[in-house]
Amino acid sequence: MARKTPLIIILLGSLLLIGLAFWAQPVKQVQAQCKGLSSCKNCHEAQAQDPVSTKGAWHVDHANFDLCYACHGGARESADKAQAHAGMVTKLTDMPANCKACHADDLETRFKKYAAQLNVTDTSSLQTAQKKNNTQAGLAAYLGQQPASVELLQPAKTESSSPAAANPPAAQTPVNTTGNAILGGLLILGVVGGGGYITWNERRLARQSAQPRSWFSEQIRKEHWSPYAAGVLLGITCILAVLLAHHTLGASSAISSIGSNIVNQAAPGTAGQTMYYKFLMPPGFNWEIALLIGVFFGGMLGALSSGTFKLRWNDDPTWKKVFGPQRWKRFVLGFIGAIILQYGAGIAGGCTSGLAISGGMLMAPSAFIFMAGMFITGILVALLVYRRRY
C-alpha cells in the first residue's frame, strides 16, 4: 500500500498544475508547439522585415498567436513573397465579420474596443453580423470570400444569407488524401517490413557468423554510443533540418496534429471548429508527422543495427524493481504519464526536442525556462517514486 502513496501524490499534483494552467491567463496563448512559424510571422516578425506586432492594439493583442492568416488570408505556408501575399486582405474592411470568426460569443465588446481606437462609429455592420447566427456560418462566409484562402482550412462554401449557413456544415472537405495515402502506405510498409525482418533476423541469429568487420560497421553495430557522439549526430541533424527544410526538429506537435486529424474526422462540426483544432493545430499531413514517422523507423534502425531489436513490453530492470513486473502497470502508467507529458508540452510550446533542443540552439529563452521547470518536477517526482531507493 505504501508504495502507492507517491503515485497518488504525483497524479494529484499534476491535476493541480493543470488546473493552475487553466487559471493562468497567458497560458491560453499557446503557440503551435514544436512547429515552425507561418511564413507571415517568420518574415514579418522573426526576421523583422516589416514587424506589425506593435502597430495597433489589435496586433499587440494577437501577437502571441500565429494567426495572421485567420484575418488577413494569404498563403501562410509559402516562403515566396508574391505567392504568400496572393489573395491577402491588407485592410480589414468588415471588422465585425473578422472578429466573429474567432470571437462569436463576445463579439460586441471586442468590436467596440477596437472601433474606438479606429474611430469607427458606424455600428450597423455589427448588427448585421450579430444577426447572422452561428460561428461556423460567419467563419465560413468570411473565408469563402477570399479567392486564395489557405489550402489547409478548406472553407465550406456556404452562402452567408442561406438558411443552411445557420447549421454547421455536416461534411467537411476531405483532408489531404495524398497525405493519408502516404501515411497508410508507410504504416503497411512498417508492419510488413517489420514482420519480415523479425523472421529474417531470427534466422540470421540462428547462424551467427563471426567475420572481422571494419571500424565503421563496428561502431554502427554498437548498442550504446557515447552520449557525446550521439549528441553530435543529433546536433548535425538539427543543423541539416534548418539547412535543408528551414524547420526545427520536434516530436510533440506531430502527436497533436494526428489528434487534430482524428478530431476533425470524428467531430468536424463541434470540436473541429474550436480555435485550437482549426487554427493553432490544423489537420493535415504536415512536416512534423513525416518527421515522427522517420523517428520511429530511425529508432528501429538503431536497434536493428545493434541487433537488439526485439518486441518488448516491460523488460526494463529498473522499472521492474520499482513498480513490479506486471505488464499492465507499465501500460497504464505509461499512458497516463504520456497524457501529462503531452499536455505539458502543449502548454509550454514544445517538448524536450522541439523546445529544449530546438529552442536552445537558437538561444530562445523559452527553452531554458522549460528545462528549469522540467527538472524541478522531474527531480521531485523521481524522489517520490524512488524514496529510499533513491
Binding site: V242, I293, D316, G337, L341, I357, L362, T377, V381
Partner: protein
C-alpha cells in the same frame, strides 16, 4: 506538403531516431536516472546536441548561408508551467 519535403523530413527523422536510440534515450533507466542524478546520459546527450547545433547554426548564419527559422515563442508562465507538467510525465513514464 510536397513530395521532396516529405522525404527530407523522413530522412531527418531517421537520423533523429537513430541518434536517440544510440544515445540510449529510448531507455527508461537513462531518462529516470537523470532525475535521480545516477545517470547523466540525457544531459550529456542533450547539451552536446544543443552546443553542436547552436555553434553550427550561428556560424552558418554569420556566413550568411542560412536564416534562422522561427524560434519557439517565449511566454514565461506558460513555458514554466508547461515544463513543470512535462517533468512529471517524463519522470513517471521515462519516455
Amino acid at each position: 506538403m510536397d513530395f521532396t519535403s516529405t522525404i527530407v523530413a523522413l530522412i531527418l527523422g531517421l537520423l533523429f531516431g537513430f541518434a536517440l536510440n544510440k544515445g540510449g534515450l529510448t531507455r527508461y533507466a537513462n531518462i529516470v536516472g537523470v532525475f535521480r542524478f545516477t545517470n547523466l546520459t540525457v544531459i550529456k546527450f542533450m547539451m552536446t546536441a544543443l552546443a553542436v547545433a547552436a555553434i553550427g547554426l550561428y556560424i552558418m548564419r554569420g556566413l550568411g548561408v542560412i536564416q534562422f527559422p522561427g524560434a519557439p515563442a517565449t511566454y514565461m508562465l506558460g513555458n514554466l508551467i508547461g515544463g513543470l507538467i512535462f517533468g512529471i510525465g517524463m519522470a513517471l513514464t521515462g519516455y
